[in-house]
């Protein structure tokens, strides 16, 4: 029996996790695993709660992306009320979701991964954090902090607070945007664009500085899943759910949120509280897919705004039409921030935002509803059933990070096999394993509340990574 190394806890990620490495006697890597160690149990204690409470309650699943849960939950509520929400409400929801993507992506790039990318994977661990970055490169840190603040302020202006605003409701939203808030956001647009363009220059340089990381941090073909708009452009709030393969061929596409759930299966491993969804028609091994910025950029034909469209072309020149290195998640995140800022700017000029009708009034008209929205980390599904009074009977959440679980594990193995050369494993190599996880920007607050009513495959995996046994639901 070889050696076991545990990285505990994985730091600078949003959640509680460990990584284990299993080495053979000759110090080659037998297996590497990513384990999520937290579980809270939302799906059970939401039962019996009123539908109206669900956006505010499920937002508490996650303080990093509460808005994502507001969106998916309110959309499931819209389906249960069977209403089309007022146009102003949809645009305001879009505005908040864009603010959320900006703040979360800025957090990932500047606060969490920035220290690796800008100070170096082998730099002093004691200073390899956002506070160390602030001391080493004050202006870059300040730019990142202010970019995140820009997104957070949009959320606060709309919802009254930056974290857990109880603002989206089934049928619409509670309040509009004030003129003074609109003016304030408008004034900050140009600075936000400057910051993200500087960061884009940085990441293009980093691709050259870290060629080994680009080819080892999860560089393999998978499927990709996410929303696209009707015209094929980038989409974050509503649209068609599309799944493509590694060549870009569309395997499935649907505008029916309920249908999309049929496409996903979910496996369980005994060594993690996080399950692993896969594309059901291809099974667990071939059905590994990725969601989030990398997937969304692979899925769409264009971003839909001028500066981001130009960046997408350059992104594809560097990574290919279908980009398969997970290191490119960082780059994709920045292209998305740029698209979000451009869309925010355009939305602020939209006269519909002045409307006062913000909420469709209706009772319980259906007893089941699915809400789908793009969270910063990928596609988020909320699936509820209710009784005739609107009390929740069952809750099924499929969270973005879980959908990347198989790919994150595959990335761990690839990084370990590439970087571990002998019995001595330098700290910088262990940090690269963590950095490989950070590229996916997992949100484990979210991910350990997911349950499946979907097909399940249970696997028993030996220490050498081989599958000893598996059982599949018919």
């Amino acid at each position: 029996m070889g050696q076991r190394i545990v990285i505990d806890p994985v730091t600078r990620i949003e959640g509680h996790a460990k990584i284990t490495l299993h080495l053979n006697d000759d110090h080659t890597v037998a297996d590497a695993r990513f384990h999520v160690t937290e579980f809270r149990g939302f799906e059970r204690f939401c039962e019996g709660r009123p539908l109206w409470e669900m956006p505010g309650l499920t937002a508490r699943i996650c303080g990093i992306c509460p808005v994502s849960h507001l969106m998916a939950s309110a959309k499931a509520g819209d389906a249960i009320l069977s209403v089309r929400i007022p146009p102003a409400a949809e645009k305001l929801r879009r505005l908040m979701n864009l603010g959320q993507i900006v703040q979360s992506h800025a957090l990932s790039f500047f606060h969490l991964s920035g220290p690796d990318l800008l100070l170096g994977f082998d730099s002093d661990p004691a200073a390899r954090n956002v506070f160390g970055l602030a001391q080493a490169d004050r202006e870059t840190a300040r730019g990142g902090i202010r970019l995140r603040q820009f997104g957070q302020e949009i959320i606060e202006f709309l919802g009254g607070k930056k974290i857990h605003p109880d603002w989206c409701v089934p049928g619409g939203v509670r309040e509009a945007l004030s003129d003074s808030a609109r003016e304030h956001i408008k004034q900050r647009i140009s600075e936000a664009i400057e910051t993200v363009r500087s960061a884009l220059d940085l990441i293009k340089g980093l691709l050259e500085r870290y060629p080994e990381e680009v080819t080892s941090f999860g560089h393999f073909p998978t499927l990709y899943l996410g929303l696209v708009a009707q015209d094929g452009s980038w989409e974050h709030y509503d649209g068609q759910l599309r799944i493509i393969n590694a060549d870009g061929t569309v395997l499935a596409e649907t505008s029916d949120a309920g249908d999309s759930l049929e496409l996903l299966g979910e496996s369980v491993q005994p060594d993690s509280y996080l399950k692993s969804p896969y594309y059901r028609p291809l099974g667990l091994t071939d059905g590994m897919y990725r969601v989030g910025p990398l997937a969304r950029l692979n899925l769409c034909e264009r971003m839909g705004s001028p500066l981001a469209d130009a960046e997408l072309i350059e992104y594809r020149q560097r990574g290919g039409r279908i980009v398969s290195s997970s290191f490119f998640y960082h780059y994709a995140r920045l292209v998305e921030i740029l698209a979000c800022i451009e869309q925010i700017d355009a939305l602020l000029d939209d006269p519909d935002l002045n409307a006062t009708h913000l909420r469709a009034q209706a009772g319980i008209n259906a007893q089941e509803g699915v809400g789908v929205s793009e969270a910063p980390r990928g596609t988020l599904f909320h699936h509820y059933t209710v009784d005739e009074h609107g009390l929740i009977r069952s809750v099924n959440l499929i969270i973005a990070t879980g959908q990347n679980n198989l790919a994150m594990n595959a990335a761990m193995l690839q990084i370990a096999r590439h970087w571990i050369k002998g019995p001595q494993i330098p700290e910088g190599v262990l940090n690269r394993l963590e950095a490989g996880i950070r590229a996916f920007d997992p949100c484990l607050s979210c991910s350990t509340h997911a349950i499946g009513q979907m097909p399940i495959l249970l696997q028993l995996i030996a220490p050498d990574g081989s599958v000893l046994d598996e059982v599949q639901r018919a």
């Binding site: 806890p9 509680h16 160690t37 149990g41 303080g63 606060h111 974290i163 003074s180 060594d271 399940i456």
Partner: protein, 202 residues
Amino acid sequence: MARLRLATVWLGGCSGCHMSFLDMDEYLIDLAEIAEVVFSPLVDSKQYPEGVDVVLVEGAVCNVEHLEMIRRVRANSRILISFGDCAVTGNVSAIRNVQGGALPVLERAYVELSDPSGGIPSPSDIVPKLLDRVLPVHAVVKVDTFLPGCPPSGPMIRTALEKVLTGEPIDLMEHHLSFGGYGRPKGSEHLPASPSSSQSHS
């Protein structure tokens, strides 16, 4: 003068309190000058160190690792601040207490709604066992100060830190003392966040 040794700890919660900590925005740059963050989900240290001056603890005590962690945190810290409603009351994390312990919640997630059953992740040195009762921090160790809110707002955290870093007692205003509240004066929820307040310290 040596920088103060500051830590932040995340137990069972949603990370919203840590996000609110980051909502202190540019004050974080000033904070890096006066305090050294020696342990936090935001920094790379793996072991909670000795000799911490101030620690903010987010989240409730939900599993055996949290229990072990909070005892080590208490033993190695001078001032322990219960940070946000989950730490202060158990809040959302403790809703599962009324379901009758950890097993029903785990069974619903991994057994009842999966097929075949029996897939609950096995507690080990990798995956910690859940406690049957989720506990607020002060039910396990002595807490020096409470910062309520879901989460406490960035300005409120900053006010508290500025006091504690200069050795003053944290004397919260009445409007800070509300569970789930905004930690702001009544009626001010929709005021634009003032960029001038952060610029004055930059």
